[in-house]
């Protein structure tokens, strides 16, 4: 009997020792003369349990974690015996943290072997593409429109509308571009998909190509994700050998091929028009819109540009139908959102769920509070350009409009937890500093205002003319918000103003409690 184990090759699992654990398990098995097959899967996203080792049993997969290399001998003994071990978490699918989720986009991530199409197909892969081919391009576009899917990169623009716009342009060279420049701190969902289920992204992009009449795709991956780039390269090569990519996609009359491009460490290239300039081999400067990328995108051609999660959600929408997906969620936020719990949090990881769950449920119930055990003070939602929320706003439901109504944003779904040791004036200053480091330089408010913003915050912290400088900071934030072409300059005011509004005591002002006395 061969023992079948699953040990992730996901970068975050590797970062905490998955490679060493795999080697130790292999050695332990060799010493005992036990045959093992170790599948290097993606991560299930339960990162506090990584490195997680799963074993296949007649009753399904059983999880153990977090496993250290020194646990290999005792773990192997347990796997060959009755399975009992201090690190046993039970059947993976029954772990409450996972069971509570609705995994649509991440249905296969951590489950399948990401290196081959056989496992992908055995887990419902390629079914969305098959249905798209049978429906034809126009009906495919309408299906995506009807699903209510909105861009998961952060802006939340309806994906189907983008596709329809490109589909309506006259036949010519068109492009599908995947934005995998996942630069927001606290986010890693794109990385997990590329490393754990790369074929779903390829399938999603191929469906997009067929739907709008594009034959060439690019995945623009940030250079900080070398493992993702390597996984996508390997998956694309496998898809070409398989016929999923090429002159006749899955045996159809449609052609589609794609290639990986690696960024070069510029956060602003996550902005779609900067990304297009970067792909063209230029400085990643933001473009003014119009023209929309859908009309004049990459090399001036009609281009669909979507986030990894948007493309990766398309196959299940096509497979199960628009209504299936649309039935999840609330308001105008339809379907599910892969939320990423990060920072100072006890149970951090990937939590995919229907829109509507509150921030408090996410960080307290699901996340289990802070890892340090200290009281939670602030939560930044939506990356470096997202607002800091105090506990008083934890009743906000995860929904594009609900967060906007409270001067925040859900962005790409990153949730970063801070305990009570955080200095919110320092965080506000960092937001301006980050904007100064990463500004592409096109818009003056962003290029110059970010540096001036740091100086003003420094003066406020030093208690120099506090009232006048606070008014100046508010005015500067307003200029940034309305005078910048993209979200870097436009949204940097969110973390700054939310810190100032909700945590004035950190800026030297009397706290609300003191003021009330």
């Amino acid at each position: 009997m061969t023992l079948r184990l699953f040990i992730p090759m996901d970068a975050a699992a590797l970062a905490v020792g998955a490679e060493e654990v795999a080697a130790a398990m292999r050695n332990a098995a060799a010493r005992r003369n036990v045959a093992v097959e170790i599948v290097r899967n993606g991560s299930r996203g339960l990162y506090w349990l990584e490195p997680m080792v799963e074993v296949e049993t007649p009753a399904g997969r059983v999880a153990y974690g977090p496993v250290a290399p020194s646990d290999a001998e005792s773990l192997l003994a347990a796997l060959l015996g009755n399975g009992a071990h201090a690190l046993r978490q039970g059947p993976t699918e029954d772990i409450p943290w996972l069971k509570r989720q609705t995994r649509l986009t991440f249905a296969r991530c951590g489950v399948v072997d990401p290196r081959g199409l056989a496992d992908y197909r055995a887990h419902d892969g390629c079914k969305g593409l098959a249905r798209a081919l049978s429906l034809g391009p126009a009906a495919t576009v309408e299906e995506v429109v009807q699903s209510g899917l909105r861009g998961r990169g952060g802006a939340g623009f309806p994906t189907g509308i983008k596709w329809r716009t490109v589909a309506q342009t006259p036949p010519q060279q068109k492009y599908i571009v995947c934005n995998a420049d996942e630069g927001d701190s606290g986010t890693f969902a794109d990385r997990m998909i590329m490393e754990g289920d790369p074929f779903v992204l390829i399938e999603g992009m191929a469906i997009a190509g067929i739907a709008v009449g594009a034959t060439k795709g690019y995945v623009y991956i940030r250079s900080e994700y070398p493992h993702s780039a390597q996984a996508m390269e390997a998956a694309i090569a496998a898809a070409r050998r398989d016929g999923l990519l090429g002159d006749r996609v899955a045996g159809s009359s449609f052609a589609f091929d794609m290639e990986v491009r690696v960024g070069a460490g510029a956060y602003v290239c996550g902005e779609e028009t900067s990304l297009l300039d970067s792909l063209e081999g230029k400085r990643g400067l933001v473009r003014a819109k119009p023209p929309l990328p859908a009309h004049k995108g990459l090399f001036g051609r009609p281009t669909v540009i979507n986030n990894v999660l948007s493309f990766a959600s398309v196959p299940i929408i096509m497979d199960k139908g628009a209504a299936f997906y649309r039935d999840f969620g609330m308001g105008k936020s339809r379907g599910t959102m892969p939320i990423q719990l990060a920072g100072n949090i006890k149970y951090g990881g990937l939590f995919e769920t229907a829109f509507g769950i509150t921030l408090g449920e996410l960080v307290d119930e699901v996340g289990g509070g802070t890892r340090s055990g200290r009281p939670m003070r602030a939560v930044q939602v939506g990356g470096p350009l997202g607002a800091y929320f105090p506990r008083a706003l934890f009743d906000t439901p995860f929904d594009y409009e609900a967060f906007a109504a409270r001067d925040g944003l859900i962005g790409h779904g990153g949730v970063v937890v801070f305990d009570d040791t955080v200095d919110m004036a320092k965080q506000a200053r960092f937001a301006m500093e980050f904007c100064a480091i990463e500004s592409c330089g096109k818009c003056t408010p962003c290029r110059v205002g970010s540096t001036r913003g740091m100086e003003v915050i420094d003066r406020i912290i030093r208690n120099e003319e506090r009232a006048a400088n606070t008014a100046l900071l508010e005015d500067l934030c307003s200029t940034l918000k309305f005078g910048s072409l993209c979200a870097l300059g436009g949204f940097t005011p969110y973390p700054v103003m939310s810190a100032l509004t909700h945590f004035p005591e950190d800026f030297g002002a009397p706290s609300r409690l003191q003021a009330a006395e």
Partner: protein, 162 residues
């Protein structure tokens, strides 16, 4: 294993550079792939490469220079034998990354962005490695490291100083 595992920096060689450049010319928008190839080959992008690239792509040297200097990744001089990147972004700040960065700077006697005089290590800030649920994070020569604490960091620093 990861593609940015670096080989040691080497002296700029015009013929080798041209060969690496030509291999990228069948790609649309070849400038970034060319710059990555040159940095992979030599460890940095020599000033002498600028006019060469300009000629091959039929663009101005100013355009080439502008692109090289826009992106944080491209180096203008060789890095140390090891490159240690410490994440300085919010999720790692929340998990105690700031004191660790200070610790690394003090132990190495280097400011962020600087290379040791003996050429052993370059210490760099990075803004997110996507390892935010196992923060604080670092990357040593392309190898990701999570759940960093002072003990683990000291191990990395010792490795980097070799």
């Amino acid at each position: 294993m990861p593609h940015d595992t670096r080989k040691p920096s080497s002296t700029f060689d015009r013929e080798v550079a041209l060969e690496r450049m030509r291999a990228c010319l069948d790609r649309e928008g070849p400038l970034l792939p060319i710059l990555h190839a040159l940095q992979e080959e030599f460890g940095y992008i020599d000033e002498a490469a600028e006019p060469l690239i300009a000629e091959v792509l039929n663009i101005t040297r100013a355009e080439v220079h502008g692109v090289i200097t826009f992106y944080h990744d491209f180096r203008r001089r060789p890095a140390g034998r090891h490159v240690l990147k410490l994440c300085r972004a919010e999720a790692c700040q929340a998990a105690g990354g700031d004191p660790l960065a200070l610790h690394a700077e003090r132990r190495l006697g280097l400011a962020m962005g600087a290379t040791a005089a003996d050429g052993s290590v370059t210490l760099e800030p990075v803004y997110c490695l996507g390892l935010c649920a196992t923060a604080p994070s670092a990357m040593l020569d392309g190898r990701p490291v999570g759940r960093l604490d002072e003990v683990r960091l000291d191990g990395l620093l010792a490795e980097a100083q070799q």
